[in-house]
Amino acid sequence: MIMTEIKNIKKKYGKKIVLEDISFSVQEGKCVGILGGNGCGKSTLLSILAGVQKADNGSFLWEGADLFADGKVRSEILGYVPQGNPLMEELTAWDNLRLWYDKESLKKELEEGVLAMLGIPGFIRVPVKKMSGGMKKRLSIGCAVANRPKLLLLDEPSAALDLVCKERIGNYLRDFKAQGGSIILATHDVPELELCDELFIMKEGVLEPYTFDGNVHHLVGRL
Amino acid sequence: MRQIRHCFLYYALLSKRFFKKFSFIILLCTVPLLVLGLKNVSAEDTGMLKILLYAEDPEDETVRELTAKMLKEDSVINYQSVEDVDTGKRMVARGEADALWIFRDDFINRAEKIISTGRKGGGVITVIEREENVAMQLARVKLFGIMYPDLSYALCKNFVKSELGIEATDEELMNYFKSSGNEEKIFNLELVEGDAAGITEKQNYLTAPLRGMLALMIILCGLAAEMYYLQDKEHGILDAFSLRRRQRSVYVYQMAAMIPVAAAIFAALYLIRDFTGVGRELLLLSLYLLDSVFFCNLVRKLFGTAGRLGAAIPILILGMLVVCPIFFYFRNLSAIQNLVPTFYYLRYSCVRLELGDIGKMLLYALIGGALDMITDWFARSRA
């Protein structure tokens, strides 16, 4: 049972404490959801785990390996989808994907793999600047999973997407979990909460476990 | 009334966007500072040409007087005396000086001999240059002008002897024929309508192009604002507006960008004393802003997208550097010059501003505005 462990992560910007002793773990095939108001530090946590920023303190272990220390392993097992869309606007979906996939595997994934599941073949030759928000997000996920990650970090993947799109992404993530992948998901979205096996609320840099009872008002009250 | 309030609100919000960017504030501060820096630099010893002076006979009185006059003179030519010929030649060869003038010994006797015989015989000055060009020719003309009092005296001396047959001493002749060359100048220099223009300080040739360069910044600012507008349009920020309002909102973008930059330029012109009075400068700048708005709008419509406009900007700027009287003034380009608002601004910035001049700038705005509206109308009717 592969476990991802996040231990005592701290982060300060000047005097402001953004993350205070963040610790949790993610089992294989499970999804951890992190809820919180805007600017509470969810994105900061994910970017630290992704290696974009450095934590002031703490460790990030996967199968005992310290991913903060070993960038190579980290880039092999992680897939990270940031809030914005990490795409080159002037190029097509195909061009953006070619950055991460070689030709053969790209064709294969488009035919019957993860890209097909995300519905990307439908707009493979469309320039990114002409795509809808949903298309861009699906493409971003497609790019993120090129290395067949074991752990996905998703920062509000369904924000501003239509229901069909959300469903598509949700189906993909369920499939990912079923195949043994782990997910850490920062979200505001209630349907996405259903994906999560474990929930935490981030408030003032501190992570608190939470159980969603289906009542959004209760949730808002906790935030 | 509501629309006007909305317009001002939008202007305030756009301005806030610009001013929230630290880079924009730095830019505004940089303009007057850079200009002031250049003004200070130009106050140092400068010259278009650097001419080295060497006297074969340092005791020659005539040569001493000539070289002293040149070294003291405030001119676009920078004179410097040099210790020996070889040093001077080396400096010229290396490009550290433009020419070396070697004043030969027995200067005045040689001059008299040339005048009396009409033959060159080596001349009175040996000029060492790297290459011949117009600037060198001008320098030699100036040299002749400086030498002229002595040469005319030598000529008179020879004339008196050969034509009148009178042998007189130098002391006697000097009273009649020697002009020091230091007398009051025949020409009384005036800056035409400079009083009316309010200009009291003539600009150094180094700082003279500054007004033009700053004026170009306004155009560039307008074009950049157009690109900003196009980007916002692309991102759907203006989708809430009606098509007509969307079209009109570009003016707000331009004003939000151009007005602060114009204010920085206003301050810069004041600092370098190329300033013709608050009211006059404000009027000219306002008219120029108005003309620039329509000019930039039409350029944007010509190119269509931010990418194409961005690609075209450097070439447009280069073109305007040539066409407008910033560094050089080419009179044969009036057909193109009349299309560029910067040309009007620079032309009227140094003369008395008359009603006709204001009228011309307003006419430019009128024509630009009409073209703008017509193209907008076509766009709306096709939409």
């Binding site: - | 630099v41 001349g123 290459e131 003309v141 000529l155 931010a306 900007i313």
Partner: protein, 411 residues
């Protein structure tokens, strides 16, 4: 390495999409400028007047000295190229000056001739516009000084001959004698070249005027061209940068790939413009002394050898794109820096026009270094020091760009 290659190729593809339009625009507009320049040159060469600066004359020019002064200046080779005098009324002169059709005008007041002949303090007004083209005005002023000296000295001598003849009881007719003397002055002026001999060292130790300006125009163009890449490379969104970092493509790798793509775009466009320009120059017989042997091939070699200078300026632009992500500020900054550096580095007025302090500073500026490098390449001398400077600047600008991006990613 593979990751770098993939990302670089992706950036190249981006740039390639923009290249056709950028190249087309550049070629079209440079072509227009070339047509204008050729038309201008033709009009200057074919004109009898060969005027560059026109000076209006208002008033009575029948006075001998004024006529002499004007004739003398018109007969000067240089001023014939520079100055042409036209007779007109003061009102017309004022309005033409205001219209920018003239550089200056001269007003000879009534009674000037009599006052001047009588040796009184008579003045002629010379009115110039304090126009932005300060160089033209400065040159005109110099010529006016020369004329003033000539006229004044001549008058002193002519008046002197009258007094001399009177004091020495000369039998000759003073009118005839003064006319003869006047004619001598004219001969003196016309024969002025007898007073100097000119020796040319040749431009071996430094660049000739035209060679200098070929380099200067290239550098000016390259500096201003930085604005072109703004829409492609000025980015506010760092999502892609974060994504790439998460994927193991560090900031330096990102910066290098993007910079190289930009450099390829810039170099491609510059080569597209300057190579044909070299051929056109050769066809128009505008042959630089340094390219005497084989103008086209030497010219093209020169353009190719200027690639390091292009790389330097490309790095400079790239740093500015990274530093300033706001479109308006970014473009304006590119312009101020580009034109400002070009001006100070001698791309418009020669560097020798500036004070010593600036001349000493300029070789350390990126534009000055590029000029120095270009001058070295043109002259065929060793440019090792300049290359080292270029490499240092490359490292500096790209390093700074990486630092800025890192900070932006953390924000």
């Amino acid at each position: 390495m593979k990751k770098f290659r993939q990302y670089f190729l992706a950036q190249l593809k981006r740039v390639w999409k923009a290249f056709p339009f950028i190249a087309l625009m550049t070629v079209l507009l440079v072509g227009c400028m070339a047509v204008i320049s050729i038309a201008m040159l033709r009009s200057y060469n074919s004109s009898d007047k060969k005027q560059k600066l026109e000076i209006g004359i208002a008033g009575d020019t029948s006075n001998n000295y004024i006529s002499f002064g004007l004739m003398a200046v018109q007969m000067l080779d240089t001023s014939r190229f520079y100055v042409d005098f036209s007779q007109m009324s003061e009102e017309e002169a004022k309005s033409r000056l205001k219209a920018g059709e003239m550089t200056a005008y001269v007003v000879i007041p009534e009674g000037f001739a009599e006052a001047f002949d009588a040796g009184e303090d008579a003045k002629v007004t010379y009115a110039a516009a304090n126009q932005a083209s300060g160089l033209g005005s400065a040159l005109t002023n110099e010529i006016v000084e020369i004329v003033s000296n000539v006229i004044y000295s001549s008058r002193t001598s002519i008046n002197g001959i009258w007094s001399f003849m009177d004091d020495y009881d000369c039998p000759e007719d003073p009118n005839v004698v003064s006319d003869d003397l006047f004619a001598e002055f004219m001969n003196l002026f016309l024969g002025r070249t007898k007073f100097w001999s000119v020796n040319y060292l040749g431009a071996d130790g430094s660049l000739g005027f035209i060679s200098y300006y070929v380099i200067a125009i290239m550098i000016l163009f390259m500096l201003l061209w930085g604005i072109t890449g703004s829409s492609l490379f000025m980015k506010r969104d760092v999502s892609l940068a974060k994504f790439l970092k998460a994927k193991g493509q560090g900031i330096l790798l990102q910066i290098s790939a993007e910079y190289l793509a930009y450099f390829v775009l810039m170099a491609g466009t510059m080569l597209m413009i300057f190579m044909p320009a070299v051929v056109v120059m050769a066809k128009a017989n505008l042959i630089l002394p340094e390219w005497q042997n084989d103008p086209v091939s030497q010219g093209i070699t020169f353009v190719v050898r200027m690639l390091p200078a292009m790389a330097l300026l490309a790095a400079f632009h790239f740093f500015l794109y990274e530093l300033i992500t706001n479109m308006v500020s970014g473009i304006l900054f590119q312009f101020i820096m580009g034109l400002g550096l070009a001006y100070l580095s001698g791309c418009i007025y020669p560097l020798s026009f500036f004070p010593e302090s600036i001349q000493r500073l300029v070789p350390f500026l990126p534009s000055g270094l590029a000029m120095k490098y270009g001058a070295g390449v043109m002259r065929g001398v060793s440019v090792g020091t300049e290359m080292a400077g270029i490499v240092l600047y490359l490292a500096l600008f790209l390093g700074l760009a990486a630092i800025v991006r890192g900070r932006r990613m953390k924000a």
